[in-house]
Amino acid sequence: MNRPGWRQMGLWAGLASAAGLVAAAAFRPGHATAVPGGPVGDLLEDEPASRGPLRSKPDPNHLGHRAGAGNRQHNTEHGERGTASKRIIAGYGFWIFLLSDIIMFAAFFAAYAVLSGETAGGPAGKDLFDLKVTAVETGCLLLSSFACGVASIGAQTRRGAWFYGGMAATLVLGTVFLGLEVWEFAGLVARDAGPGRSAFLSAFFALVGCHGLHVGVGLLWLTTMMAQVWAKGYRPDILRRMLCFSLFWHALDIIWVAVFTIVYLMGSGA
């Protein structure tokens, strides 16, 4: 990868993320009409039937906390709503953790981007990477992300077949991913392309190994989640843990998208 290329990409990344936000916003209108509690739905249906004319217009962004409407007795310092539910607090806190985890990965990505050309006379990415293996790994992780989504729906709706089936599929696919990665690492070390060979390979093993470590921890967490639901049922605290686990697993897939693009596809093409 030559350096002007990286700089160009930084520019494009900014543009593309702006486009992504626009796309995310575009998905919203259909969503708003579909959600019973959404602003449009409430205005259309709930108001005349259940609430009567006293109800004020909701402000969709909750800027004023709808002063003058609703339950007065809940008017605490948190606004009219009171404190958020434990599920929202747990999910939000875990989301903050995931973002800090992503920032840690960004540091590894920065190190890799700086060091990707420093092969010290050793093998470069295009000599080492087998894109077929990467494609299988990517497919495994993507399918496991979908299976994890099915499992989280199963947990929410208390459908055991969905939950245990989804979790088992996630476990199998995640294990296949991890096995392929360990096999790939072992092959590299056997070809004298271990982490000590060059700065490029140090950065490669640090970045991809850190992701693999996260997947391994995620698999351990997954088995304990299955055991907890098996032993304790769909209790609210167990469901909160399941929410955090699914967030974790989906975030790992997002990081893998960056890994296979920047490390494998760009590395083997350069």
């Binding site: 962004n61 709503r81 999910g91 973002l99 989504g149 099915v150 693009t261 093409g269």
Partner: protein, 136 residues
């Protein structure tokens, strides 16, 4: 609309990241429910396939390939965020989006700043063979 308005006041609620709806139950349309996961999975497979195709092709101008790969990756991350993590720009998810925006800012500063500074250091560095000569 369905008649499952249990909490009565869902307007003021925030949404937990990962939940498609403020009360924690996934709905059947939009970005939630099995349909949402299916749509997200289809889009992700499409974008991944395009990435692998673009990387190996000789049909497009070679210097544009990294840019195309980058754009495809960002798009796929957006798909994952919306359909799998349910981070949407809806009114109930504003806190999640703000946290994400801050995270993205730090990530861009970290990666962009590292490349910028290290590129300049690399540019101004004395070549290795000159250092070897000086040490003799």
């Amino acid at each position: 609309m369905s008649g499952t308005n249990l909490s009565g006041d869902r307007h003021g609620a925030d949404t937990a990241p990962g939940d498609a709806r403020a009360d924690g139950h996934d709905d059947d349309e939009g970005t939630g429910g099995l349909q949402g996961y299916l749509v997200g999975f289809g889009l992700a497979v499409l974008l991944t396939g395009m990435s692998f195709m673009v990387a190996g092709t000789s049909l497009v101008w070679a210097p544009s390939i990294p840019v195309a790969l980058f754009v495809l990756a960002i798009a796929q991350m957006g798909v994952h965020l919306v359909f799998f993590l349910h981070i949407t720009t809806g009114p109930d998810g504003i806190n999640n989006v703000m946290a994400l925006a801050f995270g993205v800012l730090i990530v861009l500063l970290l990666i962009g700043g590292s490349l910028w500074i290290m590129g300049h250091l690399n540019h101004n560095m004395v070549p290795m063979d000159r250092i070897m000569q000086m040490q003799r």
